[in-house]
């Protein structure tokens, strides 16, 4: 048993995910109070040099051909052996497509409590505290990270990735995987993102629609506005799940991070995974009838007018302004 804070470094196809740096930043704060070290854990194959810039005191690398790709059950077994044996104070995961299922599975397997949706951490008189965002960011919950051991799955927003980058490569220790079990899940192939459509991460003007658009027919109205402005239409998750726009237009967790000069959010509530993906926009303007929608917390300008009343008028005025 130790007071170390472990960070499961997330990576996909040779790229360290930004969330990994966020975890390192949080771990640094926790380790200062727990008196332990920040220890990175990297699973993969031929990954010895992958994590040169993570801010950890030491890096445990489990390198094995069977860990070349993320296979949930194989990764879980490999981590269970390591974490169970080392028994650190806290293990941090990204609350992502990779980390969330590892953390959940390990919570049951190891019998360690799990804290999810953790946005930030702090220490209070030596106690390690979590701050989680619930209800789409409308409510925060705070409490002690359970002792003696706990797993914590973190969402972005509380720490900058830059805070978790180190200036020199961490010392590496190689760990032999304890014969990663699994075999019930196998990777068949990767499916590349659809191409041929516009790349919304490179557009200067995005007119983005959310659940407030109500149905597929209403997209046309928004497309007209986008066209008048010389921009393109993007969307939040519900619109893509309904099949009203293709996944290439998705802004957020499984979609893209965007950084336009103008992000015009129409009928988008601003759930954390969406909000996080648009923070690099130069100016966010939000239209939403719900005055308490979290989107207004990150937008520079906003209006609670009904988008169906505003958009046609705005399209016309934009067209006139261009003449």
């Amino acid at each position: 048993m130790s007071q170390d804070i472990y960070v499961v470094i997330e990576h996909l196809r040779g790229q360290i995910a930004d969330i990994s740096y966020v975890l390192c930043a949080a771990a640094r704060q926790l380790a200062a109070a727990s008196g332990g070290q920040v220890v990175g854990v990297l699973l993969g194959h031929n990954v010895q040099n992958l994590a040169q810039d993570v801010a950890v005191d030491r890096l445990l690398v489990m390198d094995d051909p069977r860990l070349a790709d993320f296979i949930p059950d194989v990764y879980q077994q490999a981590l269970a052996g390591l974490i169970g044996a080392q028994a650190p104070r806290v293990v941090l995961f990204g609350d992502t497509s990779i980390g969330a299922e590892l953390a959940g599975g390990l919570s049951v397997q190891l019998g360690w409590p799990l804290v999810s949706y953790c946005r930030s951490v702090r220490t209070d008189d030596g106690r390690l505290m979590y701050i989680s965002q619930l209800c789409g960011g409308k409510v925060m919950a705070e409490g002690e990270i359970p002792a003696p051991h706990a797993l914590v799955a973190m969402v972005p927003g509380g720490f900058q990735a830059e805070q978790g980058k180190g200036t020199q490569p961490p010392p590496v220790e190689t760990v032999a995987p304890a014969a990663p079990a699994g075999g019930r899940i196998t990777l068949k192939q990767y499916i590349e993102p659809e191409s041929g459509d516009v790349d919304i991460s490179k557009e200067a003007i995005l007119v983005s629609v959310g659940r407030g658009i109500q149905n597929a027919d209403n997209i046309e109205m928004v497309r007209e506005l986008a066209e008048a402005m010389g921009g393109v239409v993007s969307a939040s998750r519900p619109v893509v799940d309904q099949g009203w726009l293709p996944t290439t237009r998705l802004v957020g967790k499984s979609g893209k991070r965007v950084k336009p000069r103008l992000y015009l959010a129409l009928g988008i509530s601003g759930a954390p995974e969406h909000a996080e993906a648009i923070t690099d926009s130069q100016t966010i303007i939000a239209v939403n009838t719900d005055a308490s929608a979290p989107i207004f917390d990150i937008a520079r300008y906003g209006t609670t007018l009904d988008l169906f009343e505003l958009v046609p008028v705005l399209t016309e005025k934009v067209r006139q302004a261009k003449h």
Binding site: E101, G104, V108, E142, R184, M229, P238
Partner: protein, 254 residues
Amino acid sequence: MHIVVPVKLVPDLVEELVIDPSGTALDPDTVRLQLNEFDGHAIEQAILLKERGGGHVTVLAPDLEGVDDVLYTAAAKGADRLIKLCDSFGQAVNNHAMARAVAEVIKPLQPDLVLTGVQSHSDLDGSMGPLLAGYLGLPYVGYVAGVTIGAGHATVRKEYPGGLAAELDVVLPAVLGIQAADQPPRYVAFSRIRQAMKTATIEEQTVAMLDTGGGPAVARMYKPEVAARATMLDGKPDEVADKLVALFREMGVL
């Protein structure tokens, strides 16, 4: 193919959320519950698989306000069996407790596939899927958008950030966390739900004592403090449109 879909009821975020006087939980009297959106996709995916390859769909839900509507709606869509889990489900029930209780109900049903919504907005102690898979001793894949059934396995499309996806084979029985069904959840007319109310039956099963071990205690719950809120543009649509056009000009995008 027997597919079981355990669903969660969660606060409707359109309603104003009120923190109770203890300051550690939402005030249950002010919360309006609704089906977790991703669980709606899980139900849809189950029905689609049944329609394509035959099978039997069982939907489980905790006995909370609005549960009957949720279950009858599932029946109207094509679910075959409805089970209500009875206990005094309060705010103290976390996902670890629910997953343990649901696992006990699911085990004797011997499903080939368990579908859950990949997450809900109130999962403070992790989402249901991986916890449930852990207690059932089954493999789990989450963030799934697309499922096909083969001989003894399911082929699933798992989503990663940036639009990348992976095709994985999972040996059955298994638990999947559904991000999106192959098709958006279908709409059912109220008349069909009313018909389901007459013909379908809801079985009640009492679950064992709920143990909340595995989740963190909440010391304080609060609304986030906002650093800076948007400058609101007031007026009629044409007035606001004028203000927006002026802003677009200022920003140099027009």
